[in-house]
């Protein structure tokens, strides 16, 4: 039974990101994995090996698309070619929902290929929510937006990040991909209580959760996705699950990628929290 109207996929359980170093292991050993998340842009191509591999994965696994360059928060109009290719991929994967970031990254036709933070203003919320609606209407699939890690705050901001997230998703009427590692990273970089963030998110809109590791520097934390999940992030995850119930969860590991088994075992740690959420529902 769906936990909420944006989360019709409570049976998805715990997935991991599909990454090239694991292709051979997955295709030859066919490990049991609840689902894979793919980076959409890696497969928005004409053909060749990447799509051949994706087709083999699709034959055996559930796949959800995660984008990194839609840039809902960029002022300029959506890139039509991007949308056209994304729709082709959506048709191929039959992704039940599609995620991308609450950020910007391009201006005047130039792309930074980064997830740049939004200024938390009402103007930005209006622009962003309008574009989320456009994408959803064009792709005809539920759109879910992810909070990003950030290292800068803007003078012009008129609200907190979680208030901005709420403003955007209410205006766009879309779901949330709650990245609890990103919340932790930003909380340390900007001196706020990460639990306040998790407690302020509208639970009825959370469709998916991300967990990941990060790197600590002397004066800030970088969201590097190259380490196991640390305990404070697991605690945030536990609180999120307590609030939103059993929700599709995914571990991101993008750099210094260890063996498939190590990544999968790290992801499966989430099950102990999901199990208690299921118990709580049953009681």
């Amino acid at each position: 039974m769906p936990a909420n109207r944006f989360n019709g996929f409570t049976e998805y359980g715990v997935g991991i990101g599909l990454r090239a170093p694991h292709y051979d292991h997955i295709l030859s050993r066919k490990p049991v994995v609840d689902w894979f998340e793919i980076i959409s842009e890696n497969f928005m191509i004409g053909g060749g090996r990447p799509l051949h591999i994706l087709d083999q994965i699709l034959e055996q696994y559930k796949v959800v698309q995660h984008g990194v360059s839609m840039y809902f928060g960029s002022v300029q109009p959506l890139n039509r070619e991007h949308l056209r290719r994304l729709k082709e991929l959506v048709r191929r994967t039959k992704t039940p929902w599609l995620t991308d970031h609450l950020c910007w990254g391009s201006v005047d036709g130039r792309y930074t290929h980064d997830l740049l933070p939004m200024p938390y203003t009402f103007e930005a919320a209006k622009v962003t929510s309008q574009k989320i609606r456009e994408v959803r209407d064009f792709l005809e699939v539920p759109v879910v937006v992810e909070n990003v890690s950030s290292y800068a705050e803007f003078h012009v901001s008129e609200m907190t990040e979680w208030e901005f997230l709420n403003e955007v998703v209410e205006r766009a009427d879309c779901g949330i991909l709650l990245d609890v590692n990103n919340i932790y990273v930003s909380s340390r970089n900007h001196n706020f209580d990460p639990f306040t963030y998790v407690n302020s998110v509208p639970a009825e809109r959370v469709a998916q959760i991300h967990i990941a590791g990060h790197s600590k520097y002397q004066k800030y934390i970088l969201d590097t996705h190259d380490h196991p999940v640390i305990d404070p992030v697991w605690r945030l995850y536990a609180r999120a699950i307590e609030r939103v119930g059993h929700t599709a969860t995914l571990l991101e590991w993008d750099d210094s990628i260890p063996s498939f088994k190590e990544v999968h075992n790290e992801a499966l740690k989430a099950n102990r929290f999901l199990a208690s959420a299921s118990l709580a529902t049953a009681v």
Binding site: I45, G48, R49, V75, R110, H113, L116, P119, N191
Partner: protein, 298 residues
């Protein structure tokens, strides 16, 4: 400050090249102190100034795009050397920042840019341009679109002087001044080694430099294509190259054959059998798409 104004200011700062010691520049391209630029829109906190917070994004941008270009153009790096490659990559990315949602396209304008900036290729400019073309063709051939192939048995049924064939979108045709295909294979073979040590890297670097120094101009006509999802470089005759290029431009079969043999030294008596052999090989490799008029109606 409007959203657009903020995004323009931040993007301009983030895409400004780093200093040689990999820090954000003290002076913005417009001559203003970067500290003032950053302080205008970014808040400081108790650990970082506005400048330092902006610098995190500035560094991340350059580390990302430079490593991407290095990964995509190992052959060009071998041709011009590590130091010159880095300087060239920074200048190229400053002049030609990404205009695509995909980082895969980052090097799409490198060949044209190198031609407009001949000093960037160093003493081996022509070689550098050839290598940039080959490595971009490699990327295009790797993930380009494939359409249903024209099979060898289709040819007799569809033959005719006015037949227009189409090349597979992933097949890339290159006329090169240097045999850079051999060099690139050597460089890639080197790069596949897992063993890494300073001594080994030095030996590897010397080997590349020697390989480049040995390379003499020698025209090569190349088709970059793929078989079973792997990219291959296939050298072809000048006449076959001319013919395939004409087919790619939409010429009819007879026009393409005529074009291929312009100024050819091949004796006329040998030409029909050569054409037949080429077509058989190219069709077997799946380079031709089924003609549109032959495609089954849906």
């Amino acid at each position: 400050m409007s959203l657009l104004s903020l995004q323009r200011r931040m993007a301009r700062a983030v895409m400004t090249p780093l200093t040689p010691s990999e820090h954000m520049r003290r002076v913005a391209p417009n001559g203003r102190p970067m500290r003032a630029v950053a302080a205008q829109f970014i808040k400081p906190n108790d650990r970082l100034t506005s400048f330092e917070r902006l610098e995190i994004y500035n560094k991340q941008y350059w580390f990302r795009v430079l490593s991407n270009l290095m990964e995509d153009f190992p052959g060009l790096r071998a041709v011009v050397g590590d130091h010159r490659f880095e300087a060239m990559a920074k200048a190229y990315l400053t002049d030609c920042p990404s205009q695509s949602f995909s980082q895969r396209d980052l090097g799409s304008r490198l060949e044209g840019w190198l031609r407009r900036h001949p000093s960037r290729g160093g003493s081996r400019q022509a070689l550098a341009v050839d290598m940039a073309r080959l490595e971009w063709a490699d990327i295009e051939a790797f993930d380009g679109k494939a359409e249903p192939s024209l099979l060898p048995e289709d040819i007799p049924q569809t033959s005719g002087r006015h037949l227009r064939l189409r090349l597979q979108p992933y097949v890339q045709l290159l006329d090169l001044r240097y045999p850079v295909d051999d060099l690139l294979l050597e460089v890639k073979d080197d790069g596949d080694s897992d063993f890494a040590s300073n001594a080994f890297n030095e030996r590897r670097k010397r080997k590349r430099v020697l390989a480049v120094a040995r390379l003499k101009p020698s025209p090569v006509f190349l088709a970059v294509h793929r078989v079973d999802y792997s990219v291959y470089f296939r050298r072809i005759d000048r006449e076959a190259f001319g013919m395939l290029s004409a087919i790619h431009q939409g010429k009819s079969l007879s026009q393409a054959i005529e074009f291929g043999f312009r100024r050819s030294a091949m004796p006329p008596a040998e030409r029909p059998s050569s054409v037949e052999q080429w077509f058989r090989i190219f069709a077997t490799l799946g380079w031709f798409c089924r003609p549109e008029s032959d495609s089954p109606k849906s």
